[in-house]
Every structure is written in C-alpha cells, then in structure tokens.
Symmetry: C2
Subunit: 297 residues, 2 copies
C-alpha cells in the first residue's frame, strides 16, 4: 500500500455540508483507474476543516466504496485527544492505514511531536504514514527526528514535501533520510510538481494530488518510475509544467484542483469550505483551456 | 473597552476536560485587579484547541464571573461557518466584543481574508477586534488590507503583533497604520516583550499575556503609558526582560505562563492540551526563582 500511486481526492463540501454523492463518485473513479491506494482526508481532502463526526462519515464512505483498493485516512488534529479518536474511528471503519501530520496553532517542539507519534502509534492496529508538510503544519522535521519516529511501531512510510529539482541533490536528500529509517519504511514524495524528481531520486510512493482527479496521468508517471524509465518520468511531468505553474500561482494545488473538478462536471460549483475560494471566472477559463490542451478534460 | 490593559487568561485544561474552577479563579483575579477588559479564549486561552461546545461553555463562565469588566471572546476558526456560530454564541452569552484571527490550514489570500471579515461583521451586533498574528495564523496583513477591513461595520480595534524595538521606527509603523483606519478604531500591541515600545509608540491598548496572570505588573506599565511616562514604561518593561527571554526560549509565552500559573498554585500541574507540554523540572525551578526575584510569585 505504501508504494506506487497514492491518490488524494477532494472532499467536496459547501456551507450546507459534504456532497457525499460527489465524494463517492471521486472514489469510484480512482478504483476503476486502479490506483495503488487512496488517501482520503488528506490536505486535498480538507481534513482540517471538518468536525470529527464529518471525518468519520467521510472515512466510512471512502472505505465502503474503495473495494479492494487500500484506503489511507488523514487523522491529523491540533489535539492528541482528537487524533486518538480519529485513529480509533478509522480503524473501526476498516481503513487500511492512517496518515498523521503534526498540525499546530502554537508552534510545536521536536519533543512534543515525538510525544504525539509515540502516543498514537502505541494505540494503533494499522500502519501509519508520517506526514511531513511544513507549509501546512509549520513544523520542520529534522532527519534525526524522522529517524526516531520511523522506529516506532506501526510506522511504515514518510510523506516528504517537495525535494529540490536538482536530481543529484534530490537523490542525496532521499538517501540521507533512508540511512536513518528501518528498511520496511518507505519514502513518498508529495508536491506534485516535484514528484518526477522525487520518484527518480528513489521515492517508492507518490502521494499525489493530481492522482486524485487525473489518475491516468499520474499513473503513467508512476509506472514509468517503477520501470526505471527516468527520461519518460521527466518528459511526462514536464508536459504538465503549466499545471504546476498554476498551482504555484494559487498558493498550492487545492483551489486549482477543486476548480478543475468543477470543470470536469464531477462536483458542484462551490466545493470548498469558506473562507477558501476556488478560481474566479477569468482564471477558470484559462484553466479550462489548459485542461483541454493537456487532454485532461 | 479597546483601551488600556486587556488581560488574556489561560483556559486550564487537561485530557479530561476544562478545569472550570481554575478558569473562574483566573477571571475573578482579573476583576479584582481592575483590568480594563478580559480577553478570554485568545491564543493564551487556547481557543483553537477546543470544540465549539467547550468554547461556548468557557464564554459563559467568563461573562458570568467578570462582573462589570468587559469580556472579549476569541472566535477564530478555520471555517467561516464555525466563526459565525461562535460569534452568535458569544453575543448570546453576553460578551462585550469578539476577537477574530484569520487562522488557516491552507494559506489564505487577502481576498479570502477580507471575505471572512465582511461576512462576520455583517452578522455581528457587538464590536470586533481584528487579530493580526502571523506567527499563529500564517497570514500577513498588508496595511492596505487592514485599512479596508477597519472600515467594515463593528470593527473597533486592531491587535497588532510585536513592533520593532526601535522607538522611532515603531512610532512610524503605528502612524502608517493609523493613517489608513477610521479614528474610532484603536490599535493594540501584543507580544508582551514589545508592549513598552508599542505603548510608547501610541498604541491605545495592550493585549497582554502577562496581564492574564500578573495583572498588577501589567497595569503598572499600562498606567504609566496612559500618563505619558515613557521612561517609566521602559524601566518597568526592562525589569521583566528575563521573562521575555524565557518566552523566546520556549517559542512564545504560553508554556511559560502555564507553568507560572502552576507555580502560583492557581492551576493543576497539567494545564495544557497535549501535545503541548509545559516546562520540564529543571526549567520550572529556574522560572520559580525568576518569579521570586521579580516579585511576581
């Protein structure tokens, strides 16, 4: 489960609640596309914006509609108390694994983050992926801390943020981390624009935002990486460069992917929790043209 | 209410819930000390870590025990939906005002933040203080955006983060902001180590963490500022320099103030929500000595 393409779908929502039918449609598309795993309630799934009850409901829907595709559930929360409840709920619902980011309001110390993972892994019966995303958590993992956490029971993967675009430096970065973690713990890349470099540098998984909406395009890159075809990975990713530029322009992938899902007719117009807003009309038109051009529409 | 000393108490809590008796004790101390207002459920009050129901309960306790002292309630939440519910709850409970920080998981755009304040102020019947705290929210207000928001109905104050320690630059910074906002909107300083510079630069309010636990020390500085005694403000603040150093060392004031409250016998040993931890034994001893030395114990 912690290798290949892990696809992260949106959780379409508006001020009245979650659009369950649209969420189920997104899950079913990923199953048909044959992704290696589904990462529900990741950052793209807006986990941080829902109540515990809403998160449990989304977890149940994901598991019920994923068939044999393993489902990884994001259980990050500001309080250890809530993380433990979410872990319990995910396990009971039949999730295959959980994903945990040390999100924060008050900046966390390394000792506090280690304490969180220690408590949570002690109470788990499914594997856990460590979610390292300083942009969202405002916590910077040291490699030393990654090493300590990776030795805790049930830890099976680390989702790292985008690496440098320099292939040599990227490989060195992945190998530096690899030397500190047990061999059964895989390393997964995120930040879609960096995925090609990460996969070519030896990451075993791509925790992918576009995989949640454009699974074929993401699978083509992933399968090329698994076949060791470095040039094809690079070529396929460079083709999507205008999309990566769009992501940067909007401070990340979420708003762009949400708007793309609207354009594809998969979700309703308003599909993000306010105050977050999707793209405005002029940019939406530009995105529509881009999706056509890239044959993603 | 948006002038003088606004004192921000802790909300003592542990994994079993909120220590209501200890919270009420903290509120009553502030009333006796005669602070100008009480800021409940601010960052020091750990608002981000509680459920909506817990926040409503703390709001009711604060209002019930504050007597004639105005109570300002923090209503920040990731979703506009929740902010509106919290605003409604604060008004119904009898809060005198609300405090709103644009907290984020996905980084917010200026347009999204303006939309949040526009929606919330349209639904308010009490004054609102804009809470600008980039360390916690990861959103940087431009002065232009402050100006636009300050013209919305019900906006009556802006809580700004610590200014530079240079008195001339601090005064220029406050005056630059002042030029863009209506005259009825006050500017308040936060970041206790910067309070003296901020007050001497013309801020009308000190939104104060130590005010929530050491109201006499904070009132002495505030009253000196209100009397225009710049030198006395500076002297009293410099005396507390070892405390500001402690705050920096612990990535902010919260953990230090929580430990100080334990040392003063006002709250139980574990008074922060995990994964947050208070000071360890060796540092606690050092803090105890410091409080003695500064006659804060």
């Amino acid at each position: 489960m912690f290798s290949g393409l892990s696809a992260f779908p949106l959780t379409p929502t508006n001020e009245n609640g979650i659009d369950e039918a649209a969420f189920v449609r997104l899950i079913e598309r990923l199953v048909v596309a044959n992704v290696d795993s589904i990462g529900a309630l990741g950052s793209t799934g807006n986990y941080a914006y829902f109540t515990l009850a809403e998160r449990l409901r989304v977890t149940q829907l994901a598991v019920q509609h994923a068939g044999n595709t393993p489902v990884i559930i994001g259980i990050g929360a500001l309080r250890t108390r809530d993380v433990l409840d979410l872990a319990e709920g995910a396990q009971t619902a039949g999730a295959s694994a959980v994903l945990l980011a040390p999100i924060s309001y008050q900046r966390l110390s390394a000792d506090e983050v280690f304490g969180l993972y220690e408590t949570v892994t002690r109470n788990l019966s499914v594997p856990l992926c460590v979610y390292d995303n300083p942009n969202m958590t405002h916590f910077e993992f040291s490699d030393e801390l990654h090493g300590r956490i990776a030795h805790l029971p049930n830890v099976c993967s680390i989702k790292i943020p985008g690496v440098t675009v320099d292939p040599v430096a990227a490989k060195a970065r992945v190998e530096r981390l690899r030397a500190l973690i047990p061999s059964h713990v895989t390393i997964g890349i995120s930040g879609d624009g960096f995925a090609a470099t990460g996969l070519n540098a030896g990451c075993e998984v791509w925790y992918s935002v576009i995989g949640g909406l454009f699974p074929k395009a993401a699978l083509a890159i992933t399968r090329a990486a698994q076949a060791g075809d470095i040039q094809e990975v690079t070529r396929l990713s460079e083709r999507l460069q205008p999309l990566w530029t769009f992501f940067r322009q909007y401070g990340g992938s979420l708003r762009v992917v949400a708007s793309a899902a609207v354009l594809l007719g998969l979700v309703e117009q308003d599909c993000l929790p306010l105050p977050l807003k999707a793209l405005e009309a002029a940019d939406l038109q530009q995105l529509a043209e881009l999706l056509d051009e890239l044959e993603l529409a």
